[in-house]
Symmetry: C2
Subunit: 293 residues, 2 copies
């Protein structure tokens, strides 16, 4: 039996810490941190994510602004919105919820965000700083996983970590952070992806597996070593007529099997997901502190 | 017996291609590409490297400028020099030879170089673009290794590559480039370093080993798999009274042993070293092309 890495509880703890910091700021007569979120279109999952981010802000006393734009907005109009947000001194940071409609070039949009306001940490300058071990905004999902490892005091130095998936927002930064100098950090990291041959042979040797693949129940018990730390980033919506929402969220890890072998494991939901939001708020606080100093 | 990946010959070929491009430019009445190198102090190895870069420029018809500064220059003075180079429109790119004297913060200096002139690819913005798979200046040593793999048509997709060393200028970018989408690319990459446990167990499983450790003759035959591709980035000066220079350059790989097992191998000298210079010139040509367009 494994110990559950409780992302929900840890996330709540971080939010409480942030809420206390906001109270202290207000007591000093200062304005609270302010995050804006830009949402283009009406994608159901995106609406849920953005809504959750805005609610989290309100809960801890951050100011938040939701900017909803039509699905058929032009790229130029979106870039003009970003330019306005870049120059808005009442705003510490903002995010543009991905994915964007197909007629808009995400790379151009991300590049237009001022690095000092890029609390998602997706801008090349921030991504480069992260990769070079410099202080910067770290993409929220891998940042949340690092924070979870840290708060559970899991020592990964010299251990073999295997990351599944090389996306720009999870797998790639995750592989870098795990192997960068620091604590947690200093792991030996193997980054695997769609072209990887004999994946199971690799995951079976891992002390830590981070799966960010998006295939429900992909990681089965035969693919993991006894005592491994298992981090599940997968959040796939699977249709389920018995559920009031019509779907359930399923992770990459075959939880019921793997929890019997792992030493530590994140559940889905309640693992990595809540940590992602907490770290976005943490990044916003960092932006605020830099702004104020 | 293995096939030698001849960096010297490949580098010469790239330089010839660049020389032809310069001739074509001149025939059109255009100025040639222009690279400047800033050297602080009188470190022997640095002098050798910078000298070699300048000579290579001259050989292929690039304009080159060497800026030599005293060891005791202040950081502010160095930053002022960089600012001048950033604004010099007759210049396509420049490098600041590392390492710098201890009283100067390398991170601050690199950050001061305009990303569009950073032909070393060390600036966070360029490093981030590289990590995100965007077109940019790629650090010359890993870029040279990718080019060598490409010109020898070695298919590494899905293969297991092990990189030894996580430096910002070789190991880290190497691990990213090998696993990024592309050809060559798409490898499964394990990045190892000083904290890695059981390194030999890991290298023994590798289809490709890139060693950037700086320990002479470190990688012995028992550490590599039959038929592996071996890339040696090590260039350690080892005292040798019998040699006219008083030292010899020794790689990380125990060449005589490992060449019997490897399928392909880079020699030292004549492997990765010459490729590094060729790719710096290639980056300068890219800067020129962007400048001109």
């Amino acid at each position: 039996m494994s110990i559950i890495l409780d992302g929900k509880a840890t996330s709540n703890q971080i939010k409480e810490e942030l809420a206390e910091q906001v109270l202290a700021l207000k007591a000093q007569g200062k304005r609270p941190p302010h995050l804006a979120a830009v949402l283009v279109g009406n994608d159901g999952a995106s609406l849920t994510y953005v809504g959750s981010k805005v609610r989290s802000c309100q809960k801890i006393g951050f100011e938040s602004t939701l900017i909803q734009l039509e699905d058929n907005i032009t790229q130029a109009e979106l870039l003009a919105t970003i330019e306005k947000l870049n120059n808005d001194t009442s705003l510490d940071g903002f995010i543009v919820q991905l994915p964007l409609p197909k007629h808009i070039d995400e790379e151009v949009v991300i590049d237009a965000i001022h690095p000092d306001k890029d609390v998602d940490g997706f801008h090349p300058t921030n991504f480069g700083k992260m990769a070079l071990g410099m202080k910067t905004f770290i993409p929220a999902t891998p940042f949340g996983i690092m924070e979870l490892l840290k708060r559970y005091k899991l020592d990964i130095s010299g251990k073999h970590a295997v990351v599944i998936g090389r996306s720009h927002i999870v797998g790639r930064p995750m592989s870098i952070l795990l192997s960068n100098k620091g604590n947690p950090g200093n792991a030996t990291v193997t980054l695997t992806h769609s072209r990887t041959q004999n994946l199971a042979d690799i995951t079976k040797e891992a002390d830590i597996v981070v799966s960010a693949l998006g295939v429900p129940n992909f990681l089965t018990a035969d693919m993991v070593k006894d005592g491994a730390i298992i981090i599940d980033v997968g959040i796939t919506r699977v249709t389920d007529a018995n559920h009031p929402k019509g779907y359930v969220i399923v992770g990459d890890v075959h939880y019921d099997q793997v929890k019997e072998k792992a030493s530590y494991i994140t559940p889905v939901p309640g693992g990595v997901g809540p940590m992602t939001i907490a770290m976005l708020l943490q990044n916003t606080m960092l932006a605020y502190t830099r702004n104020a100093s």
